[in-house]
């Protein structure tokens, strides 16, 4: 019975979609057709010229209006994504560490806001979106050469390339910032800064190009060999940072005293505010990835919100079942896990699959963070791997299952996209994309950590760790209660 119900709801979606698709072009065509008919019948040599000029002007005006609307949404989205790093992630992580490391973890996010921005202007944007190589971009847009008011039709044909550039920059900022959740409370500031800058160049830029760049190996719409669906960064952002986080946690080793000594979060209030800001910012991250103020943006917005809600419930229910209580930290962690998992799927799935993806991610990430971490004993301090690595992997694979052409006909009109459309081979493509992202992040991170370890060192001495990174790395304290 259940099965029949599922099938029923999924077969309804394409039907509704077809009706919509049939109605929308008809109504859109009616206006120009009506205005064109009289001009064709009353054909004198002068009038068609005037009409043509008028039509050309109207066409230009319509394009300008669309460009303004899209540009407005994309600039707001860019700002929303920056808000995810500072204050969102900074507060979320800041509350989870012990009091003595609050400023250090916040400063790591903030330093990346400055550092990656400069790197992006010099070479980063070009390495991600220049040229049409399989593995990495080119130096075509180094120093932002050729990036101005004109759109780049390969990526976003209605907004200035400058807007596209600054929007993508915000993704490049938050991705390395996510890794600091695994290195928290013990990694040197100098080592962190050097490692994450190199990581951005060596791991993020190639992966972003492979998945989103023209001609990239995994690109789904611009000629990739293994078309991997990744709407807003399941592989590029979450798998890359999450898997790298695990490597960092293993390489750095456990925090002094872990797991015997209690290390409870110093302020869940900060984490709570941070998580809520992340939720809101994620609308810019996912709905903005439509790169236009389109109905696809609405669809991604709705999927994002629904997945977050379902995941918060999933994590809380698992916790309630296990401990007899639902905690605030559990609910907000669940929401973040759901947002991570829906990221690759946001522009490909409807609201019902979004609920399913969220629920699955909430429960699985709870299990990763509470059970798997304890079994293997790695010290992923703030669960960057458990939430982003695991959630990103689940989301990327489920995207292959739930993606539907009625939502986003990325392979051409009428062509099946995901498993539920009848194209189960997409799950295989997703698996290839996920595997490449995993291996790339794993190897890249390990090599870079070795190099940085030789240059600046990666871990603070134990006495610094005990005193806290705020004082030993930055010479200040988060809370000066005497002043």
């Amino acid at each position: 019975m259940k099965c029949a119900g599922w099938k029923c709801s999924f077969s309804l979606v394409p039907v509704l979609g077809t009706i919509l698709l049939a109605v929308v072009p008809l109504s859109a065509q009616q206006t120009p057709a009506a205005s064109a008919t009289p001009s064709a019948t009353a054909a004198t040599p002068e009038i068609p010229k005037a009409v043509n000029e008028k039509l050309a002007q109207l066409d230009k005006d319509v394009k300008a209006a669309q460009s303004s609307a899209d540009n407005a949404w994309m600039l707001v989205s860019a700002a929303l994504v920056l808000m995810m790093t500072g204050p969102g992630l900074a507060l979320f992580y800041g509350g989870l560490v012990r009091r003595k490391n609050t400023l250090a973890i916040m400063m790591q996010s903030f330093a990346l806001m400055a550092l990656i921005t400069v790197m992006w202007a010099l070479v980063g944007y070009s390495l991600c979106f220049g040229g049409d190589g399989q593995f990495i971009g080119s130096f075509e847009h180094a120093f932002l050469r050729g990036v101005g008011a004109d759109p780049n039709p390969d990526y976003a044909g209605t907004i200035p390339q400058m807007t596209f550039m600054v929007y993508q920059l915000m993704f490049a900022i938050i991705t390395p910032a996510l890794i600091t959740g695994a290195t928290a409370e013990r990694m040197k500031f100098s080592g962190t800064v050097l490692f994450l800058t190199l990581w951005f160049l060596v791991v993020y830029a190639p992966l972003a190009h492979m998945v989103w760049g023209k001609g990239g190996l995994l690109n789904a719409s611009l000629g990739g060999k293994f078309p991997t669906l990744d709407f807003a960064g399941g592989t590029v952002v979450h798998i890359s940072s999450g898997v790298s986080a695990l490597v960092c946690a293993l390489y750095l080793g456990k925090r002094s005293g872990y797991p015997k000594q209690p290390m409870p979060p110093h302020s869940l209030v900060l984490s709570f505010i941070g998580a809520c800001l992340l939720w809101v910012g994620w609308f810019g991250f996912n709905a903005g990835s439509a790169l236009a103020a389109s109905s696809l943006a609405t669809s991604a917005f709705v999927a994002t919100h629904f997945a977050a809600a379902a995941a918060a419930l999933g994590w809380s229910a698992a916790e309630w079942f296990k401990n007899g209580r639902a905690s605030a930290l559990g609910a907000i962690s669940g929401a973040v896990a759901g947002l991570v998992a829906i990221t690759p799927a946001a522009g490909f799935v409807g609201p019902m699959p979004a609920l399913a993806i969220g629920l699955i991610a909430g429960v699985v990430c709870y299990w990763m963070v509470t059970k798997v971490k304890a079994i293997f004993g790695y010290d992923d301090a703030l669960d960057a791997f458990g939430v982003h690595g695991a959630g990103g992997t689940i989301g990327a694979l489920l995207t292959g299952v739930f993606a539907q052409q009625v939502i986003n006909p990325i392979f051409g009109a009428g062509k099946a996209v995901g498993g539920l459309d009848g194209h189960w081979g997409q799950v295989g493509n997703q698996l290839v994309g996920v595997s490449i992202a995993w291996v790339f992040a794993l190897v890249g991170t390990l090599v870079l950590l070795k190099i940085v370890d030789l240059l600046t060192g990666v871990r603070v001495p134990e006495e610094y760790e005990i005193e806290g990174l705020d004082i030993t790395q930055h010479g200040e304290e988060a809370y000066n209660l005497e002043s």
Binding site: P264, P265, V369, A374
Partner: protein, 112 residues
């Protein structure tokens, strides 16, 4: 003169303070402290990791009293601070040799 130190439940503090003011006690020093006697702590769970919190928040009242008032004050605290459960705290009494008011150097019970 006697010094009275009472460690009580934070939830009873307002009632104790009001009752003491009613019997005319105006001076006291109050500290937020943490500790435990026979009362066991509680456990907290953060992302599956359990922490046992055994030092619990308490309020410590300190006051120095003229001998005549000691019994009344002790009775009042006993009456108002009691919940009947483990963790209600304790009262300690000790003799005080001298008291001096800094402002005018008065001594003994006059300084209280």
């Amino acid at each position: 003169m006697m010094k009275l130190e009472a460690i009580i439940q934070p939830s009873r503090f307002e009632s104790v303070k009001d009752a003491l003011r009613e019997i005319g006690i105006e001076g006291m020093t109050v500290t937020e402290v943490r500790g435990h006697g026979r009362q066991k702590g509680h456990t907290e769970v953060y992302r599956g990791r359990e922490y046992t919190v055994d030092l619990l928040p308490k309020i410590k009242l300190e006051m120095v009293l003229p001998d005549a008032l000691v019994n009344r004050v002790v009775d009042t605290i006993l009456k108002t601070a009691k919940t009947g459960k483990i963790g209600d705290g304790k009262i300690f009494l000790s003799r005080v040799e001298e008291a001096i008011r800094i402002r005018n150097e008065e001594r003994g019970e006059n300084a209280l």
